[in-house]
């Protein structure tokens, strides 16, 4: 099949979790990162956004909750346009886990950090505590609630970063390079956590085996546009496509042998 299928449907009775159309953006220093990006995610999908370094992945992520606003084009979250009028609502619905947990964990203790988002949304008292505990339990970090984040291991910090976002009960979870700098055990633990969640997941990565393990569908972003959209095993089996966009499977890894991803 032709892997280049960029054809987002524009009318749908159930709104997409995420719908991006015609998105272009340049930084103030003149560097243009996005050149017209189109794609849409159904509710509950787990999708990998693959691409080489400098493809514009992180720039795209920053558009999803309105931190950057489009030069041209639009982003809609659960049918809501990402604009100034809907910013609070959008930021509550889109949870972004950034690449460096040190950037995300800025409060003195884990508990305060996880409470930060829901408290900004107006939660207080017992309700807030319950929300924090639940989020920490989902990532297996409930026992570390009162420790300062910088005393945790890197893998633990990444899990707490996921919890800080889960505590906001988002509609869609966006992870920027979730497997980077993780040792194999932490990597597996994070995969187990992610597969146990029932939210839409957009995972931005160049870790192809991780994408195959977690995401049935993948998009390839290269040169600031989506150049491929399809089932992950098929995309990863297309050697020409991968090579053309500087994506490489680890030595000895075969997407066919690895089998279909767990759904």
């Amino acid at each position: 099949m032709d892997p280049v299928t960029t054809d987002p449907v524009t009318t749908n009775p159930v709104p997409y979790s995420l719908e991006v159309s015609g998105l272009a953006f340049a930084y103030p220093d003149g560097h243009q990162a996005l050149f017209g990006v189109d794609f849409a995610l159904e509710r509950g999908e787990r999708v990998a956004l693959l691409g080489p370094n400098g493809a514009g992945k992180t720039t795209l992520v920053l558009h999803l909750n309105g931190i950057l606003t489009a030069g041209t084009g639009s982003v809609r979250v659960a049918g809501l346009p990402v604009d100034r009028a809907h910013m609070a609502e959008v930021r509550q619905r889109v949870g972004i886990v950034f690449q460096d947990p040190d950037d995300q964990l800025f409060m003195p203790t884990v508990r305060e950090d996880v409470a930060f988002g829901p408290a900004n949304a107006g939660l207080r008292g017992a309700e807030l505590d319950a929300r924090v505990t639940r989020a920490l339990e989902r990532v297996g970090m409930a026992g570390h609630a009162d420790r300062p984040p910088h005393h945790l291991s890197f893998g633990q910090r990444r899990r707490v970063a996921v919890a800080t976002v889960l505590a906001m009960e988002p509609e869609i979870l966006v992870l920027d390079e979730p497997s980077s700098n993780l040792d194999p055990a932490s990597r597996r633990e994070l995969a187990e956590i992610l597969t146990s969640l029932d939210v839409t997941v957009l995972m931005v990565t160049h870790d192809l085996p991780y994408a195959l393990e977690l995401c049935p569908r993948s998009l390839i972003l290269s040169g600031g546009t989506v150049v491929a959209d399809g089932p992950t095993p098929e995309l990863l089996a297309d050697g020409t496509l991968l090579r053309a966009h500087r994506l490489e499977l680890p030595f000895g890894f075969s997407p066919r042998r690895a089998g279909p991803p767990a759904l």
Binding site: A26, P28, G30, F35, G36, G66, G71, T72, R84, M87
Partner: protein
């Protein structure tokens, strides 16, 4: 070098404390404006009140940077080394208000973390090292940017001069405080000359390092240097092969009208002539005349900038009485600094006037800019 408790008498400490509190309060408000114009996310900053939500993380990280950069040792000679004080660097990189906040927070934490600098002297330390250094550096830097042709080398050269001037200015301001509220009767003129001389040397090091650092940042990310934001280029977007104009992302920093450059040049030249004349006259006359001349010249300068009062005149006389050299040095630096502060105050007041702020603000700015205790 942080001032400990008991160095200055209680009224002076109290006055500098009030000054520092006022300057920090003013900077808290000003920093929001400075940090709201983000190069990248400027378009969304308005979502929650401009700058309010950027101040804490960015000023906090900038403070951590100043704190860290003070640990970077620069070898001087034969095993000795110095480190950056950072006031001028902060003023140029993040702007004067944020700069005052950063250095103040560093001083506060040094006082409560390491007992470095007395608690009752915190106001003095903030006034000398945060307010005077940052404000003087900022004013010198902005003045030079306006006067000189635009470009990267101008930014670097201005950074050098700004940092160079800021260090002896701070030292002389401290000497002034010591003249007013010192606990020991020392010959102020001689102290001023010694402090000024030593700190000019330190200032040269500070200037070189600051200029090199600012140059390194300007070469890579000119948009991050608060003092050089005008160097950014206009934007073009390419969408599916077509070029489209990008929507305006941030209001360009208010550029000075071309005609005002002449005013600035004249002002600077006048200040320099005044400084040269006063110090020359003062140091060339061996008899009692010099006292009158210095009194007259310095009073005139003070009057011009609406900061006339006793201590400055006393300090000038003390310097003149003791040594000709000290008078020359103190005169040049003193008048230069006064002129820079004065013109800066004029600028601030004028800007305030157009934004219809209260007169009280203007007075507070004047106090903070002149860096002197409130009477």
């Amino acid at each position: 070098m942080h001032v400990p408790d008991g160095f200055l008498d209680a009224p002076t400490s109290l006055a500098t404390g009030v000054t520092a509190a006022g300057a920090v309060a003013l900077s808290l408000r000003g920093a929001r404006r400075e940090l709201s114009a983000s190069p990248v996310t400027g378009a969304t900053a308005g979502a929650a009140g401009p700058g309010a939500e950027r101040t804490a993380p960015l000023a906090g990280l900038a403070a951590a940077f100043i704190f860290a950069v003070q640990m970077l040792n620069f070898p001087v000679a034969a095993g000795t080394s110095g480190h950056l004080l950072g006031g001028a660097l902060a003023a140029i990189l993040v702007g004067p208000f944020t700069g005052v906040l950063c250095v103040s927070v560093v001083l506060l934490l040094q006082a409560i973390m390491f007992a470095d600098g007395g608690l009752t002297a915190l106001g003095t330390n903030i006034t000398c090292m945060a307010v005077v250094t940052v404000v003087v550096a900022h004013l010198v830097f902005r003045t030079l940017l306006r006067v000189l042709p635009a470009g990267r080398s101008t930014v670097t050269a201005s950074a050098f001069v700004a940092a160079l001037v800021s260090v002896p200015a701070s030292a002389l301001f401290f000497t002034l405080l010591y003249a007013v509220g010192g606990t020991t009767d020392v010959p102020i003129g001689r102290v001023a000359a010694a402090m000024g001389g030593v700190h000019v040397l330190i200032g040269i090091g500070e200037g070189v390092i600051t200029a090199l650092t600012v140059g390194a940042v300007v070469a890579v990310r000119p948009d991050l240097v608060h003092g050089a934001r005008g160097l950014a280029r206009p934007l073009k977007l390419k969408v599916n092969g077509e070029l489209v104009d990008a929507p305006a992302r941030q209001a360009a920093p208010a550029a000075a009208p071309r005609s005002s450059r002449a005013v600035w040049l004249t002002g600077l030249a006048a200040s320099l002539v005044l400084a040269g004349f006063v110090s020359f006259y003062a140091s060339a006359s061996p008899d009692g005349l010099e006292k009158v001349a210095a009194d007259h010249g310095i009073d005139k300068a003070a009057e011009e900038h609406a900061v006339a009062d006793g201590p400055l005149a006393d300090y000038g006389v003390g310097g003149v009485d003791d040594e000709r050299l000290s008078a020359g040095l103190a005169g040049v630096i003193g008048v230069g600094v006064t002129a820079a502060v004065g013109t800066g105050v004029l600028l601030v007041v004028r800007r305030r006037g157009t934004t219809a702020r209260s007169a009280a603000d203007g007075a507070a700015v004047r106090e903070a800019a002149a860096g002197r205790p409130e009477a």
